[in-house]
């Protein structure tokens, strides 16, 4: 059970003061999951730095001629008991394939924690829905753990193409009720997350979502229509991860903002999505 770094936190802007680190972490395990995903667990001699749900790391992929820049990877989970950092990674290109080759004992250079974080509920009693799609479910595990640790009963709604793309279900279920949709009906309800019956059965006060943009926009539209507060975690192409290069911007009510440093988490009120 994670010792939540949140216990004393009442301001969602704390991450502005959080120190960033450049660390060589050691691979404890690197498991190939069903489909095209890996679950990598890393640790360090020292206690891992404080990290907040929704933050990410910029990792260095060595030995990949096609990977010049670091790769942003969401923080999937931090296990304080074992001092382990978890990454859930989808294998897409040469860079991620190189990551899949890492073995126990290998070193991975990471910059973390980066970005802001999901904000905590305003009230002690809120119904919270965490909606994830594909590998976008990654940050929701840590978020769910932190919320549960704060006394909330989060509900997870996870969507995937097919059963084999559903990852870490057991882990999610330890922190809250977990509902599933698959596009091919191979598991859970058929269709997209926004079709799931739970949305009719239960009224939510806040929605957190991370996944493919079309999915997040559908979720945002549902939230907007029903007057539910909604935070989305964006994933743009990044270079520095620190807000220095201004490459990963998204349009907001206040103009272009960096997904890496002003985000990755934004409230849909602040974005200019046509929903």
């Amino acid at each position: 059970m994670v010792a939540s770094p949140w216990t004393h936190i009442h301001s969602a802007t704390l991450q502005k003061d959080m120190r960033k680190y450049l660390l060589d972490l050691t691979v404890n395990s690197n498991e190939r999951l069903s489909g095209n995903y890996i679950l990598m667990k890393l640790s360090s001699e020292e206690r891992l730095p404080d990290m907040l749900p929704g933050q990410f790391a910029e990792i260095r992929v060595d030995g990949s001629p096609t990977t010049f820049l670091r790769r942003p990877i969401s923080i999937h989970f931090v296990d304080r008991a074992t001092n382990e950092l978890w990454f859930l990674i989808q294998l897409v290109g040469d860079g991620t394939r190189k990551l899949a080759e890492l073995k126990k004992g290998d070193t991975l250079n990471v910059m973390l924690p980066l970005g802001n974080s999901f904000s905590m509920p305003a009230l002690a009693q809120e119904e919270l829905l965490l909606v994830g799609g594909g590998v976008g479910i990654a940050p929701l595990l840590m978020l769910g753990a932190v919320l549960r640790n704060l006394g909330y009963q989060p509900t997870f709604l996870l969507g995937a193409r097919s059963k084999k793309d559903l990852l870490q279900l057991d882990a999610f279920e330890t922190y809250g009720q977990t509902f599933v949709t698959t596009e091919d009906a191979s598991f859970g309800e058929k269709g997209f997350v926004t079709n799931h019956s739970i949305l009719q059965q239960k009224k939510f006060d806040k929605i957190y979502t991370c996944g493919p943009t079309p999915m997040m926009k559908a979720v945002a539209a549902y939230a907007a229509k029903n007057g539910i507060d909604c935070e989305v975690s964006l994933e743009n192409k990044m270079a520095c991860g620190l807000g220095a290069c201004l490459c990963c911007v998204t349009e907001t009510q206040e103009g272009h903002k960096c997904v890496c440093s002003d985000g990755p988490v934004f409230n849909i009120k602040d974005l200019k999505w046509q929903i």
Partner: protein
């Protein structure tokens, strides 16, 4: 411990390593990773007279050993810099330089004048690779006359150290450097990014919103090195070299080619501590080869 102190015009630096504009923010972004006071200088983001939103997303594409960017000078304008950012960073114990950009000579001059009034900004880097809106969008830096024109105008309005950043997208960069020297520049820095393009073959669309953008990173080092060598032979003013410097060895190559100082840009994205490694590596090289000062290797390439 060799002597790393370097002078560029009236600018005095504890060492010849600066950070390139647009790659190091205002320094604060990297303060968790390195001691900023160890740097020779920090050249902050391209600053324009008025606030700019920059280009639409996507602004970046990765390329073999490099990247293309098209940020489009997003910044809050010189007044915001003077009122809100300058007070925050002015006491950093290193040289803070401002990269000044514009679309018209008047813009450049007005911006330079505002910066000239700031005690703790000892120098500016003039970015002449911007399109000249009054001349069909051709970049100031691509002709001797328009380059000299903007430099001469800014020189009148700015009395501290004026470094002019040259565009590599030209037939003869040495000619432009000479024109800029004659127009009153205290130094030239090169190279700015090379104009490149990246395409998504599957989608049949450009990978960045502006179709073309600026190429930087290790891939451009051979071109940057060649241009620094050509320019250093052509001008008397000190040359600041940049373009694909990833480590101390790369930096040494630029000094040997004739650079008096260097800037590290894209490499900051890959290793936020690279600047410190380069400074230490330069010192090791000088000690190992028995040089007393960094000045001993500037232009020391043996071509005979």
């Amino acid at each position: 411990m060799a002597d790393l102190t370097t002078n560029i015009g009236k600018l005095v630096m504890k060492n010849p390593v600066m950070t390139a504009s647009g790659t190091f923010g205002y320094g604060e972004e990297f303060a968790d990773f390195i001691d900023l006071s160890r740097l020779g200088g920090i050249i902050v983001k391209g600053t324009t007279l008025k606030r700019r939103e920059g280009n639409p997303y996507p602004r970046m594409a990765e390329t073999p050993s490099g990247m293309i960017n098209a940020v489009g000078l997003q910044n809050k304008g010189v007044d915001y810099f003077v009122e809100h950012i300058y007070p925050r960073i002015k006491d950093t114990d290193t040289n803070i330089l401002v990269n000044v950009s514009g679309s018209t000579i008047d813009d450049y001059v007005a911006t330079a004048e505002r910066i000239n009034a700031l005690d703790k900004i000892p120098a500016i880097e003039l970015n002449i690779s911007c399109p000249n809106v009054k001349e069909g969008g051709m970049a100031f830096g691509t002709s001797c006359t328009s380059a000299a024109g903007v430099v001469a105008a800014v020189r009148k309005a700015y009395d501290k150290t004026l470094i002019v950043k040259l565009s590599p997208n030209v037939t003869n960069i040495a000619e432009i450097a000479k024109a800029v020297e004659d127009a009153g520049a205290d130094s030239v820095s090169l190279i700015n990014t090379l104009m490149g393009m990246a395409i998504d073959a599957e989608k049949r669309k450009p990978l960045i919103s502006t179709i073309t953008g600026g190429l930087s990173g290790a891939c451009v080092k051979p071109i940057a090195l060649r241009m620094v060598w050509q320019v250093a032979k052509a001008v008397k003013i000190p040359v600041v070299g940049l373009g694909g410097i990833m480590n101390a060895t790369d930096a040494i190559e630029f000094f040997l080619a004739g650079a008096s100082a260097i800037e590290i840009g894209t490499a900051n994205f890959i290793d936020p501590t690279v600047t410190i490694k380069v400074i230490d590596g330069i010192n090791d090289y000088l000690d190992r080869h028995g040089f007393k000062s960094i000045r001993d290797i500037v232009g020391a390439l043996e071509t005979a």
